[in-house]
Symmetry: C2
Subunit: 183 residues, 2 copies
């Protein structure tokens, strides 16, 4: 998966591993996390596979940088991947639900403490997404390239799903906290 994400970004412009890590952290990282270790090793593998090329630039006054550029083969691979639609349910991994499922043996206080912390975490996430939405709407007014206008519709769509997810999570947490309190 991470390989397609990297191709997706490199399809816009050449970037270094560090650039990519930052780009991910502010966008796709919210729905597909990656450590920098995974990014650097995947980029190396992709170079071996001919999906990208790299240029090492000795740092003059700055640390050395290795810039990766997508190849025609890389673009082709990204296109093929995008053209083959997801036709199955993706598997969800929700550790909190696993924990709650087996929480019959726990005290109400222990459970409530955990759910309350989670509510704070998801409130922060929602606030973060709302801020991102505002910033994105402002940036959309003055995009450097008109071709990015179309892209920004999809970026915004992913953000909207993030907000719906966080809102649903928050609503459920409040409901569940109430339920546990009344036990």
């Amino acid at each position: 998966m991470i390989q397609y994400i990297l191709l997706g970004f490199l399809n816009y412009q050449p970037m270094t591993g560090y650039d990519l890590k930052r780009a991910l952290d502010h966008s796709t990282g919210h729905f597909w996390h990656a450590y920098h270790s995974q990014i650097y090793t995947t980029l190396r593998q992709m170079e071996k596979d001919g999906l990208v090329t790299s240029q090492f630039v000795m740092g003059e006054g700055q640390p050395d940088r290795r810039t990766y550029t997508i190849t025609e083969q890389g673009r082709e691979m990204l296109s093929v991947w995008l053209s083959r639609p997801l036709t199955e349910a993706v598997s969800v991994k929700e550790e909190l639900l696993v924990r709650l499922f087996f929480s019959g043996q726990r005290s109400n206080e222990s459970i409530l403490a955990e759910l309350t912390v989670q509510r704070e975490i998801h409130q922060q996430k929602l606030a973060e997404y709302r801020k991102m939405q505002q910033e994105m709407e402002e940036q959309a007014k003055c995009l450097p390239l008109p071709s990015l206008q179309r892209d920004s519709v999809f970026w915004m769509a992913t953000l909207k799903m993030g907000m719906r997810y966080e809102q649903a999570y928050l609503d459920w947490l409040s409901e569940t906290i109430q339920t546990v309190q009344s036990l």
Copy 2:
């Protein structure tokens, strides 16, 4: 993670790998999937670690079965895990959002086809969860052990999150389909 799920089930009663696979598929599998291969290998490892013991029963008229029983150490490990609350955001993995994020280069038709299939998938999931909820509510009236009454509150809570998630997903899919149609 899968290890704690297995301990969670074995904490109720001794079970075989096959039993566990079925139990997971009808419950926790909806928020933490596991192949039978992972279940069997994890059970073996857990036996080495002293978390479970196993009794092999030659099948008389039925296939051979290896029944796993949780040990005191296993119960302890489960308890410790449950008592250490999740205090961080769990990382989400949403392949559809990754795909949509980089879908600027795709045709509207291709995107709409994918979103429509996803809507059907999530509608089915929601229907499945609603059916499970009905069954659970009926079963709750005549539980074999009164101690399960408390547990069923948490099982129901996880199911409710599943329904909220699917509903949020469906609402977002409809919204996004409309957005793409109007491009």
